[in-house]
Point group: C2
Chain length 330, copies 2
């Protein structure tokens, strides 16, 4: 084990690629040991942290700007599902020797563009060398009115279960990325699925609606079935989901038509980064309409019911048995 | 690239090893997607992030509890140097397949004990598998009265340069860890140096004094010479340091007596995790006395002077040329 003597290496790297992104005054130009943030009075801080590793959470040869965007977006997705406005983020980046200046330029560009789009500025971080795979660890911060963060806990029997966007696309995209011949679909549909895996679309535009309407919420990162199970467990309820109501893209619909068994992929596949939430039945239509106005499709897929444990997925009124309910690394 | 289907793997790991540590109510038992923290009115949030990688920042066979403590302490050290009270931390842990339950038990024990000792509770995080080396990335949060965070910027000509503790021990400890025969010292002195490398002693007990007295401060993580250079650059000043005043442990003193060339190791070696700060000359003695009362040795080693660039290190009144001034990974 050794360290390389060189005064300006890390400082130079930070100054070249990341200082231009650090426009928030609290970032102190990334030239101090810590960043500061002045919390607005009456707000809670919301904190989330997701780490992504090359070969596990993304492909080492994914475009660097997409890797950066994904790393930030999976964290933004957590903030959105908690009804929270982004405040900024910290970045830890572990770089193997093989990383080039070109790679870093593209990575920083993607990160900077998304930081601006989502109003979530870079505040600070750490850059280190690794003999292993590239790793991006992001801590994102948000603000939410005091005591109001939307939790997994809070769903009540009678609430409607609602999801944003379409479900299952990213899991199909991962399948295609692993095996280009996995699904017999036309090129446009394949591209849609590949993009959905490569680049999550976090639903931050409706975070304020989640805050106003949802009794419980989380983002779907490990699969609809498994994540709904977690929400139900935290809330001490169960749910009944009508599989026919689960919103599908044209591409997922085509894949399902070709092979009904892929319903499992749709319900259990990871990386959707849509929001699953529960909303009191009397307010569900208003939430859906407001989300629509904000440009986000939201769809009722079932009901919260009394009981405990995993939600039941019903197809034609009959329970669907899933062989696995979500992805886990362990 | 694949993910392992298994619903409860990561949840189980978190519940078993880390939930017992998450006693802060805002951690929500680590059973939600985010944590909350209510900032006290009139305070700024201070944020810092340090990532540690096995084989780079610690030895893979270091005791797991020491790895956990070091990962937390290097972040606590940043908070201390910024005059900040710890508020909590988030942990991203990337685990290779080889990690055992025994390892995790020890890691979590060390982490939990330090979280309690330093009043810095675990708030949340992420646990992932890695095909590479073990990685611990911690984001630590603190609170400081609004606008008062002690920065690298702020040192003024005439201020005294002060360091806490003793300098250079950890660099000797790393040398001994790499090569047991590196220094001819008696076993007790060797053990002192090895421990100083293994387990930093962040100076959080005097954070409030740094806040009250220091015009500028940072923790010494990459070597006294290099880190003082950074502080001087940020402040637009230079400094003159009397090498004879740099506080040494008995072990470092013995190593220096045996070989005067190791002055380079003392001044440029990393991992001290002491505080270097500047204090107006009229208040320097009061700061040192107050630190002493809090159990922390603080020593004047020189003066801030007008000018730009790296501080000059004087031995017997003559400038000492250093071949390198700090450690960097790049």
């Amino acid at each position: 084990m050794s360290k390389t003597p060189a005064e300006t290496g890390e400082d130079h790297l930070i100054a070249t690629y990341f200082r231009p992104l650090a426009r928030h005054p609290g970032a102190l130009g990334l030239a101090d040991d810590a960043a500061t943030l002045t919390p607005p009075h009456g707000f809670d801080l919301v904190l989330t942290k997701d780490a992504l590793i090359a070969g596990v959470h993304f492909f080492p040869d994914d475009p660097p700007d997409a890797i950066a965007r994904k790393a930030l977006r999976v964290n933004l997705s957590d903030l959105a599902a908690k009804g929270t406005r982004p405040a900024g983020f910290l970045l830890a980046l572990a770089l193997p020797d093989t990383v080039t200046g070109e790679w870093l330029t593209s990575f920083a560009r993607g990160l900077g563009e998304d930081a601006q789009t989502y109003a979530c500025p870079l505040l600070g971080g750490d850059t280190v060398r690794t003999p292993g795979p590239l790793m991006v660890s992001i801590t994102a911060l948000g603000f939410v009115p005091q005591g109001k963060m939307v939790q997994r806990k809070g769903a009540k029997p009678g609430d409607k279960v609602i999801v944003t966007g379409t479900i299952g696309d990213a899991a199909f995209g991962l399948e295609l990325r692993n095996n280009a011949g996995a699904l017999a679909l036309d090129p446009k549909l394949r591209e849609h699925l590949l993009n959905r895996y490569l680049l999550p679309q976090p639903r931050n535009t409706i975070a304020s609606l989640v805050l106003a309407y949802a009794s419980a919420a989380m983002d779907i990162s490990d699969g609809l079935a498994g994540d709904l199970s977690k929400l139900c467990r935290a809330s001490g309820v169960s749910a009944e989901i009508d599989v026919a109501l689960v919103p599908l893209s044209d591409a997922a619909r085509a894949a399902l038509a070709a092979n009904p068994a892929v319903v499992e992929t749709i319900l259990s596949g990871g990386d959707d980064y849509e929001i699953a939430c529960t909303v009191p039945a009397t307010r569900s239509k208003a939430f859906i309409a407001a989300a629509q106005s904000a440009g986000v499709q939201a769809t009722e897929i079932g009901d919260v019911v009394a009981g405990e444990g995993a939600p039941r997925f019903l197809r034609d009124g009959k329970p669907l048995a899933l062989s696995k309910t979500s992805f886990s690394h362990f």
